[in-house]
């Protein structure tokens, strides 16, 4: 892809026309400034967005978020919506870590009151929340119970004492997507999922202790319970081996299905099935089971975080601000060409960002819009935003999910020494507990884009509105 092939719409919006490749069914709309767009052209992310534009039944445009970077099949930071009647669903457009997502919890604990206990608290969190390669979860269940988890999501956690009512109310979809079908889940997925509920995993998954460094929208921050100078905690995890296996099963199965429905694609990782076919419905049901598994996984982890926090800091409560998915396929209604259309929105590395008044939002967020959580890298700030009407109109109610990588893992390992990085972060007042120094190096702050610039683009495009900025004090990496 070349900058000459991209048309500038305005400072923060760009378009790749359908004429660029013969397989494109819709254009690609990029939300970015020129500098970040040029950075995106350094990898294959925009070629991948062009490939994604080949999916049958697409409506509007394939949307590319400011934090886009190269993935496989779809780019990470890509959004694509397909018509539920005529369109397809693509497991690769959702990703292997189904319902990978972020949860933010907030407290009234002032940073100054926490600082002397922060290292001990982080060590206790590290013990309470299983993390790293091959670690079993807080909860291990038999198949019968796993089925309930897949059908009830965070509701299972509530029934079993791992959640309170507010946790459920302040989770996307109430922590459970209807329509999960256990029969669509393979034995292998079930085996892999049984022992990992309440485990963080490794890679870019984390728990981060932050403080609210700045508030930009006092009213929205107050509704979310975010107060300047107080402690907040973010948690990033997904559906673990269960979701990986569900996606693996269907990407494999769909290799033949795509041919059956005469679907031609430029990359076989994009394989898909019609949403109204037996195969498409089976994947949607299994994907929802994995999404519910992930909601429950984060809820069980959040419960352990809360218990540890309240033991360490008596008299302070850690309440849920929001829990959201950023690798997901959702059936939603959007205005396209002046008409309401039911679509399957594929968000791969993109966060839902519904505007104020949307019926799917919890009561408390009806006036301000959906909280949008955009974590930075472990040495930089993270942002809390709210969804907007512009996002509804431009990106199927979607926004960025993070900073986005600029360095490959290989390059990051070459440039960064994990032990040294830990010391550097400590010198800046950020305490790190990591399962692997190599993994830490791969996730170094310099491996990621400048998060503040990503937010500037989001503000510029109107896909989100800033509420607060969080600064890290301690990080747990799997």
């Amino acid at each position: 892809m070349d900058l000459k092939q991209i048309e500038k719409i305005n400072t923060y919006e760009w378009e790749i026309s359908r004429s660029v490749q013969p397989w494109m069914r819709v254009p690609v709309r990029i939300f970015s400034d020129e500098i970040m767009l040029k950075a995106a052209l350094q990898d294959r992310s925009l070629d991948q967005a062009v490939n994604a534009a080949s999916l049958p039944g697409l409506v509007g445009s394939v949307c590319v978020m400011p934090d886009v970077h190269q993935g496989y099949g779809f780019p990470i930071g890509g959004v694509a919506a397909t018509d539920v009647q005529e369109g397809v669903i693509s497991p690769g457009g959702i990703g292997y870590d189904i319902n990978c997502g972020v949860r933010l919890m907030a407290s009234d604990l002032p940073r100054q009151a926490a600082e002397h206990l922060l290292e001990d608290f982080t060590r206790l969190l590290y013990q309470a929340c299983p993390s790293g390669v091959g670690e079993k979860g807080i909860v291990q269940v038999q198949a019968k119970e796993l089925r309930r988890i897949c059908e009830q999501g965070s509701g299972w956690a509530l029934k079993n004492g791992f959640a309170d009512r507010e946790d459920i109310e302040t989770s996307e979809d109430g922590g459970c997507i209807a329509g999960a079908d256990w029969a669509a889940v393979s034995r292998r997925a079930s085996e892999r999922g049984a022992e990992q509920i309440g485990s963080l995993g490794s890679g870019n998954h984390f728990i981060e202790v932050d403080y609210v460094e700045q508030v930009f929208d006092e009213q929205a921050a107050a509704v979310m319970g975010l107060h300047k100078g107080s402690i907040a905690i973010q948690l990033h995890s997904g559906s673990r081996g269960f979701g990986h296996q569900v996606c693996t099963d269907f990407v494999h199965q769909f290799q033949a299905v795509a041919a059956k429905y005469h679907i031609q694609l430029p990359d076989r990782e994009l394989v898909c099935a019609p949403l109204n076919s037996t195969e498409g419905r089976a994947y949607l049901s299994a994907m929802r089971a994995a999404a519910n598994y992930a909601f429950c996984n984060r809820q069980v982890l959040a419960y352990a975080v809360r218990q540890t926090f309240e033991d360490c800091f008596p008299g302070y409560h850690l309440r849920n601000v929001y829990d959201l998915a950023h690798n997901i396929g959702k059936i939603e209604t959007h205005r396209i060409g002046g008409q309401s259309v039911r679509v399957c929105v594929h968000r791969k590395g993109a966060t839902r960002a519904f505007a104020p008044g949307h019926p799917d939002l919890p009561q408390q967020y009806q006036k301000i819009g959906q909280p949008v959580l955009v974590p930075g890298s472990m040495g930089t700030s993270s942002w809390v935003l709210v969804g907007t009407e512009s996002a509804m109109l431009k990106s199927f109610g979607s926004c960025s999910h993070g900073a986005g990588r600029v360095l490959s893992r290989t390059q990051a390992k070459k440039e960064v020494n994990g032990g040294q990085l830990r010391e550097e972060l400590a010198a800046r007042g950020i305490f790190v507990q990591a399962g692997s120094l190599r993994g830490l190096a791969e996730e170094a702050p310099r491996a990621y884009k400048n998060i503040d610039r990503v937010i500037e683009c989001i503000e510029g495009t109107g896909l989100g509105r800033s509420v607060a900025r969080l600064v890290p004090l301690a990080v747990i990496k799997g």
């Binding site: 993935g71 890679g203 990407v251 290799q255 076989r268 290989t410």
Partner: protein
């Protein structure tokens, strides 16, 4: 390296979010084995020495690229179970694979691989050497 024999092995190539491997071999079965060794390398596996079992697997797929993904996915699943292949004997005929595998325990591993992807996967044969590029989701 023998000048007559094409390079056989794998090497890591940069990938922005995940990890990619270039795999080379003079024949298809050796390429599959090299890809398996590459996967184990990415996982950072430390193997035990006690033989656990000898297993026979049979796999079929729509083409040889699909067969490679299915084969590696099978090995990845067995790593999740704590088993790593120490000795391979493979035959591949068109889109059918038969393998006799000697399995030992995984003592430890350094990394999780979520999946073996099909992303732009193509097995090429040039000048008597097979080559492919595999992308693994981390």
């Amino acid at each position: 390296m023998d000048a007559e024999r094409p390079f056989s092995g794998f090497k890591e190539v940069p990938h922005k979010a995940d990890i990619a491997l270039d795999v080379f071999a003079p024949n298809l079965p050796e390429m599959f084995i090299n890809a398996a060794m590459g996967l184990y390398h990415i996982l950072g596996i430390r193997k035990g020495t006690t033989d656990l079992e000898e297993i026979h697997i049979t796999l079929d797929d729509i083409d040889r690229e699909g067969l490679l993904v299915v084969f590696l996915t099978e090995l990845l699943y067995r790593v999740e179970e704590g088993r790593v292949v120490n000795q391979f004997s493979l035959t591949i005929h068109e889109n059918h694979l038969e393998a006799d595998l000697k399995v030992v325990p995984v003592l430890s591993r350094q990394r999780e691989v979520k999946a073996v992807t099909y992303h732009e996967l193509k097995i090429n044969k040039e000048n008597g050497s097979y080559h492919t590029r595999l992308v693994f989701d981390l």
